[in-house]
């Protein structure tokens, strides 16, 4: 399974347009880490965006696209700062931390 995290918008929007997405491939992970990722992905897939905290429209909030490639069709999850579920956030943070290593 390969997961890709792309970040958009915010004050640094122009920078994020040129930064490559962060990628984690389970083939390169220890078994335990791969298992943890599988669990996080399953939880994120099951957690739709929550009710937005923003009143009206948020400005300069960031949004995140996580693409999961684990079979024929990639699955794309997209949430933002103002409607992010805990499970999506956990997956996002795990990808950021692991891809940085």
């Amino acid at each position: 399974m390969k997961v890709t995290l792309a970040t958009h918008g915010g004050q640094g929007a122009a920078i994020y347009l040129s930064l490559p997405p962060r990628v984690v491939d389970t083939r390169a992970l220890p078994k335990a880490a791969a298992g943890a990722l599988t669990g996080l992905v399953a939880a994120a897939k099951a957690s739709p965006p929550v009710t937005e905290e923003a009143v009206g429209s948020a400005r300069d909030a960031m949004s995140y696209t996580i693409t999961i490639e684990d079979g024929a069709q990639p699955i794309v999850l997209q949430q933002s700062d103002t409607n992010m579920s805990d499970a999506f956030r956990a997956l996002r943070d795990w990808i950021k931390k692991t891809a940085a290593k």
């Binding site: 004050q11 930064l19 948020a58 300069d60 909030a61 949004s63």
Partner: protein, 405 residues
């Protein structure tokens, strides 16, 4: 009721209802009871609403909350209020002070009472999430991240960023510029314009003294970048190996077409803002006074006169009109606005090319020796007459050449 009764709009007096409650007729008693109950309910609601309406304006009172590195705003802790003492946490104090400076700027310069011009509270949330590389406006509150310490530092550290976010609120309560494509880029530009003005005002800087940078100091020391954006030189805020070159255009010929999706920055709202940003910088420099005075007023009045779907051309035309209304036809201020938009590739509608060129040479547009006070329609008429004369002369020349063959 008799024919002379003027009580078409009378309210049934309570004493009469009380009397009806004593009626021997059960239906009359019930009807009177229902009326009394509904009236009491309505009176109660009016009293509650009246208490809200009579509530004193917040006058932009500030409250800072600490998210404690979590993302829930509702569970954030109040750490500083308007009358409260300074905090031992400098992030809290910077947010508090930045809010105050921005609030005071809008009041002193534009006589605007907080973001909504009705004293809206200013609520700020610091230490949002962990290593959060951003600050945003959620429609009512401002949220600040601490930065990850690798790319960015604490977002409370930049007054122009604070004022940028609060200005999104001002825009929402005025033009309501939709946050995508050109209207979105204008929305972003308004925030950069007034963000920079707040900083210049706080430092009493002239346009020449100002750095015209947005987010200078937000990057960590190890990052080779001047700022997030440059209004003076869009496209040159940074150029490094880590995230490449600043992609902002400074001219319509370099407009960046991006998809209207989150991945496309909603049509490049943070990218194409470079064009109107540059126009404001040029107008302010040409006018020469403090930028929040003439240029700032022209832009503020234009923002209020704009709408949700206003695009660059329309906004430019509005600034030209507002400059005329505020400072006079053919005034230095109006000409500065005209020239500024022309330099970024936007020609003000209805202003003939000749008028601009004549002005640039120092000669008045109408050739009368006046300062070009006549309106643009008269100038256009003269231009057309001159062109017609040239066409007639050319026709005669062609006819003469044909006759010689």
């Amino acid at each position: 009721m008799n024919a002379t009764c003027r009580c078409l709009n009378c309210i049934m007096p309570p004493h009469l209802l009380q009397k009806l409650l004593e009626s021997k007729d059960k239906d009359i008693r019930q009807s009177a009871m229902n009326t009394l109950l509904i009236t009491a309910q309505l009176r109660g609601e009016r009293a509650v609403l009246a208490s809200f309406a009579a509530a004193p304006s917040g006058n932009g009172r500030r409250t800072i909350f600490d998210c404690q590195n979590r993302t829930s705003l509702s569970s954030a802790v109040t750490v500083r209020s308007e009358q409260g003492a300074a905090s031992s946490d400098e992030s809290v104090n910077r947010a508090f002070d930045g809010f105050g400076t921005t609030r005071d700027f809008f009041k002193d310069v534009f006589d605007r009472n907080s973001i909504d011009d009705r004293g809206m509270r200013l609520d700020g949330y610091v230490h949002y999430d962990a290593g959060y590389n951003n600050a945003f406006w959620n429609g009512q509150k401002m949220v600040f991240g601490d930065g990850d310490g690798e790319l960015f530092t604490d977002f409370t550290g930049s007054l122009d960023v604070i004022a940028h976010e609060l200005t999104h609120g001002v825009t929402d309560f005025t033009a309501g510029l939709e946050y995508h494509n050109q209207s979105g880029a204008l929305n972003e530009s308004m925030s950069d314009v007034f963000g920079s003005l707040v900083k210049q005002w706080s430092l009493k800087q002239s346009p020449a003294q100002a750095d015209w940078l947005i987010g200078a100091g937000i990057f960590t020391p190890g990052i080779d970048a001047d700022a997030l954006r440059s209004m003076k030189a869009p496209g040159r805020a940074y150029d490094n190996q880590l995230f490449g070159k600043d992609p902002q255009p400074d001219h319509m010929s370099k407009y960046v077409h991006l998809p209207d999706t989150p991945a496309g920055d909603n049509g490049g709202v943070h990218i194409n803002s470079g064009i109107p940003n540059k126009a404001f910088y040029l107008a302010a420099m040409e006018i020469g006074a403090f930028a929040w005075e003439a240029a700032g007023h022209i832009w503020y009045e234009s923002l209020k006169a704009s709408g949700a779907s206003t695009v660059f051309q329309e906004f430019a035309d509005t600034t030209y009109l507002k400059a005329e209304q505020l400072y006079g036809t053919g005034s230095d201020e109006q000409q500065a606005v005209l020239g500024a938009w022309r330099e970024v590739g936007i020609r003000i509608s209805g202003v003939p090319r000749g008028a601009m060129r004549a002005r640039m040479r120092g000669a008045p547009a109408d050739g009368s020796g006046t300062r070009g006070e006549e309106d643009s329609l008269a100038a256009l008429t003269k231009q057309l007459a001159a062109l017609s004369a040239q066409v007639n002369a050319l026709s005669k020349d062609v006819g003469a050449l044909k006759g010689k063959r």
